[in-house]
Symmetry: C2
Subunit: 352 residues, 2 copies
DNA sequence: CTTTTTTGCACAATCGATGGTGCAATTAAT
DNA sequence: ATTAATTGCACCATCGATTGTGCAAAAAAG
């Protein structure tokens, strides 16, 4: 029973065992040994010792010395949501493919928490940071900038560095048109029968709302203000908005555009409180895709943001030399009701 | 315009600025200064300089010296699933409350990737590791053990260290009974009309299947083998199982137990390919809770695993001195159809 | 058999923070 | 006015890896 365990082997241990210096061991194990003209046989010896003693480098020490860590961060607003969790999933695959270590953290949509978290990540010398859906991207930027950390915005844009986001305006238009089209079969839709719920005063919401209103105006000629209910990004507030509407009108709007799957959960809470008939013939458009949401008992048209392309684009940009901040729009996809799309999980092999 | 930026301030910088030694600066900034009998006024001076120059400690250096990092890891099989993403969300809140930094990584249910990932985390001297749903918990254990890293299993148990998991047997029973009960109103259910889909040969699946079979045997007296279809944890395989059944029988089973929300997505894919009538009167039980899943157009009874309690229990255990491995079962909750429960996101304040 | 070149590696400084030890200056005790 | 006790802090080794530099020994050139 070999018994050096409990303490990890270091290059110094291997240096003693091999009779070489620590720098030689280091060079062999990190691949720079050819440059240092180390004999193949020495390298072999050291490698076999490393294997035998289960050596793995202390990455904190390496990071301290080289001020790079091999860590790549993704800052999310929340985990518990299919949009962001699929972003995390896709992100991890990309980072792994580059031989780095992904680390995913959420900051609860709290600007202060965002900055604090990023500072912590910086203290670990992460190499790059992807900032997704930040409430205050420019605040995060300032922190990154001060530390010379490469970073990029996702989902919500900032003004100080590149941003890769959904084409929310176009998506908003697509979704609104699809909702209206879907209602054609029945009695023609009136402008005040089409509402929008959810979202806050951020770029994504503003653009989606702009798309929504423009399409309404183009089709109906009018676009009543009271049809816009930006209830933030919480299920509870959204539910309240539905309850209020229902209490006043005795029914739900005939059709509505829901700003995100999180707001959609607010609708579910409402539905859970009311009999089935209350929503027998609503039509819903949701700006986000959730496979289960797509199969609800009323027509649900969804927008799937193209996470794969967004992440791919972001990596492409972050690898390039720094340039003037730009907004990169990725076209989202309209998903008709009752559609189960493949997702990042399908890339995983399932062994038994 | 102050211009020392681009390089982060270190204790040495502050040491020069303050005229004190680096060790004094260090002591002041990490709170051990009283023990070192440093004058209040010196401490104040240093703190103000630190503030002014935006000093933040280099955590790699600190970690290297003290071989602790303040990082707590959560290893997930996948991100993109409400069960695991809510686990991540809850985990983060707990870790933050302890003043540490949560880091969440997924390993794609690949035993080798699991070990590799854990080794990487260990190289960063993480302080504790939560291993959720690992395919090979004991393999992970070996790696942790060798490095003297405290760890605990979640969701799927290992034999070498404590495990906090759902009471899958009890949950399986609960869900099976509920499915059968739900069918009572109509023509009585026959034993061969109740199937189970999904899951692989792991502890959770085995226990759920055991509960399922025992209840069937208790109620029907029989429990046909062909009603058990453990199709792994992929949507694609599960879909295929449904297709096969449907091709053979011309309809879906009248009622079925689906082993996880991931498998449930396989059912969605099937449904997307077939007309509505195909599943007009099925009854589904799913071992996992997804708010959208709960509102599908057929009755969906779900099991919500009590993630909050699991995480809380796990933290409680990991803080205690090491003891003989034990299995801690957390009772899951039965969720009737059309129920929108609150989740970890509700703890977040939504500012606008 | 020298001189030059190449090969193969060791040495030591460094990254930033920590904590044990020791010592001068101040204060208290006698 | 001494001696003893306390205060306040500096010094230095250390964590584990990286990297520029330098120097012997071996090989090649002359």
């Amino acid at each position: 029973m070999r018994q050096e365990s409990k303490k990890k082997a270091t290059i110094y241990d291997l240096s003693v065992l091999s009779g070489c210096s620590a720098s030689t061991v280091s060079a062999v194990l990190n691949g720079t040994w050819q440059k240092r003209r180390i004999k193949e046989s020495t390298a072999d010896l050291i490698r076999s010792l490393a294997e035998k003693h289960q050596y793995t480098a202390n990455l904190q020490a390496r990071g301290l010395r080289s001020s790079r860590s091999g860590l790549v961060g993704l800052l999310l607003p929340v985990h518990d949501n299919r949009y962001f969790s699929s972003m995390a999933q896709t992100f991890e695959a990309h980072v792994r493919a580059r031989g780095q270590c992904p680390i995913v953290v959420s900051a609860c949509r709290d600007p202060q928490e965002e900055r604090r978290t990023v500072e912590t990540l910086i203290s670990y010398s992460i190499d790059e940071l992807f900032v997704a859906g930040a409430t205050d991207p420019d605040g995060v930027h300032a922190v990154c900038e001060a530390a010379g950390l490469k970073h990029i915005n996702l989902d919500l844009p900032g003004t100080k560095t590149h941003s890769v986001i959904s084409d929310n305006y176009e998506g908003g238009r697509l979704l609104t048109e699809a909702i209206i089209r879907h209602c054609q079969g029945d009695r023609p839709l009136e402008p005040e029968e089409l509402y929008l719920f959810g979202g806050r005063n951020d770029h994504a919401s503003r653009e989606r709302i702009r798309g929504f209103r423009e399409v309404k105006r183009e089709i109906f000629g009018v676009d009543p203000d009271e049809c816009i209910q930006p209830t933030g990004y919480s299920p509870a507030m959204t539910q309240k908005a539905f309850e209020t509407f229902y209490a006043r009108e005795g029914h739900l709007p005939r059709a509505f555009f829901i700003n995100s799957s999180i707001n959609f959960e607010g609708l579910l809470r409402f539905l859970g409180q009311h009999p089935h008939e209350t929503f027998a013939d609503i039509v819903v458009g949701c700006y986000d895709y959730d496979p289960f949401g797509s199969f609800l008992p009323f027509p649900v048209i969804m927008i799937r943001q193209d996470v794969e392309s967004m992440i791919a684009k972001a990596f492409e940009i972050i690898d390039q030399p720094r340039s003037a901040p730009q907004l990169h729009l990725i076209r989202p996809e309209l998903v008709p009701p009752r559609t189960a799309l493949m997702g990042p999980l399908d890339a995983l092999k399932d062994i038994d």
